[in-house]
Symmetry: C2
């Protein structure tokens, strides 16, 4: 008993749960609560968790690597049964190897599922929507509507998903014998205000795109608002498309064409796969969901 | 050592942290990740937590009482330093006493801060925006714009915040010698689709309101979309106002007049007060934030 006292041993729920090595707890890291895409994803994960008998601890990292590390360490200490990761280091093109290694080390002890991301050089379980295909669908739709001058707005070149979309955009143009022009590609960030600013720049060009593909719905809405404030009609004067099909896209007027990543399904699938990993079942490394092009008023 | 082995005692981080009775962890219960208001609030709480050296575990309850109990018990077992509660039982007019008692019992051991809610019959630390005043501001604004027929759309009569807003609506009308009419008050839920449906009903009335106050931005946007699809101009034919000033309100076209609850501030204040309670400092029971009326195109 002296040893127990000295080391503050606790016969608590956590210790008891170790008998069957199961706490029923899952940690979920996500980067940005102000982008509805993420709450939609973890809403789906929560629904699946409830059915499977798990509880989720959601951790808002703001894509801050230090905060990610803090939450990862804390969740491991609390002995979660598994982890779901979104955003931050798993979407960075230039992620320091030590940060990748941190996740790899944890993965040796605890099952991890990544949503729309990778750990470069390390195999891991991933769930993703095919954003390459989603981009291709939307560019082809704009071409089919008669557009020959198509711009690309928003995102960041240090983000893997932006690079993937840009590649799909470029290749789809080229497959249709349309030229890729640097001045029609403008990056910045993922926010509505970025969309507003970048659109201002487009509108000053003498030879500007007639249709614009935006990195997400937020950038698209910013772009729409600038266009409308300048008296342009959408889609007659300029067609605008978003990405993610968040609840914002159908709320807009005109309603916004977008690509559904099946955000709720992404969360559900990640939780389902994680629960199989926890039960030591075999699961394929990569699960890809098909994107859906949702055509609305802003492009037709 | 036999005792240690038999009872699975663990000299873990949790046990160590008990020396200074501080795990640095806060549990946050919230009801609905699909309503941007809540991600905005816990985004604010996260920013404050980061500065104060706390980590937040966010728990999505879908306002399901059982799920709330599960998370409450789990967070207590994990020995969080404090809890922040939003939605669910603390906003219910007919909450079973046993569910109130559950929170009261936890409060004896762990500091709790409620956001925009109460535990009927029990004193507790609360942070809220003055929704009564917010509603009064918006009704008075509509009256000042010349409206004499003002409707009230959405919400639920079993929710305390709806009842408070309805009371403010009624009293502000009466203070302006305008009559309160039952047929101009239509409740349902808090969703965009509810706003669409209830607006349909309004538009069939021969003597319908010229301005409508909606329970939140989602209902307002649903109402706007129905009105626009019927060829009505906003605000010329019908003025529409929302509540919460989520990012949706400025995204809309026309932009939506709304009442800011200072959602990020709500979260920050709750975290600040909770940290003081954890440090055993004296804090006033009730902290009220002033709402801001944000006048945009939809009402003027």
């Amino acid at each position: 008993m002296a040893i127990i006292e000295k080391h503050k041993f606790q016969p608590n729920a956590l210790a008891r749960s170790l008998v069957n090595k199961k706490t029923g707890m899952i940690g979920v890291l996500f980067p940005d609560s102000s982008n509805m895409f993420f709450p939609e994803v973890f809403g789906g994960a929560e629904r699946a968790a409830q059915k499977l008998g798990y509880t989720l601890f959601l951790c808002n990292t703001f894509s801050d690597y230090n905060r990610e590390s803090e939450y990862l360490n804390l969740l491991c200490e609390r002995q979660v049964d598994g982890l779901i990761l979104m955003g931050g280091r798993i979407n960075s093109r230039h992620c320091p190897p030590s940060l990748v290694q941190e996740v790899v080390d944890i993965q040796r002890k605890i099952p991890i599922v990544l949503i729309n991301g990778t750990l470069p050089g390390h195999p891991c379980h991933r769930v993703k929507t095919d954003e390459y295909l989603g981009t291709k669908l939307i560019v082809q739709h704009l071409i089919d509507r008669g557009h020959r001058q198509i711009g690309f707005l928003g995102g960041s070149e240090v983000t893997t998903t932006t690079v993937e979309k840009l590649q799909a955009y470029r290749r789809t143009l080229e497959a249709n014998q349309l030229s890729y022009r640097n001045e029609w590609v403008r990056m910045g960030s993922f926010s509505m205000s970025c969309g507003r600013q970048l659109m201002e720049a487009f509108l000053t060009m003498s030879n500007r795109p007639t249709a614009i593909l935006c990195i997400n719905d937020y950038v698209a809405i910013g772009a729409m608002k600038t266009a409308i404030s300048r008296g342009l009609r959408i889609p007659e004067d300029i067609a605008i498309a978003g990405f993610d099909d968040t609840q914002l896209s159908s709320a807009m007027n005109p309603e916004l064409t977008s690509v559904s990543q099946q955000s709720e399904q992404l969360g559900m699938q990640a939780m389902l796969i994680l629960s199989k990993l926890i039960q030591k079942e075999k699961v394929t490394k990569l699960t890809v969901l098909a994107p859906n092009l949702i055509i609305r008023q802003s492009t037709q």
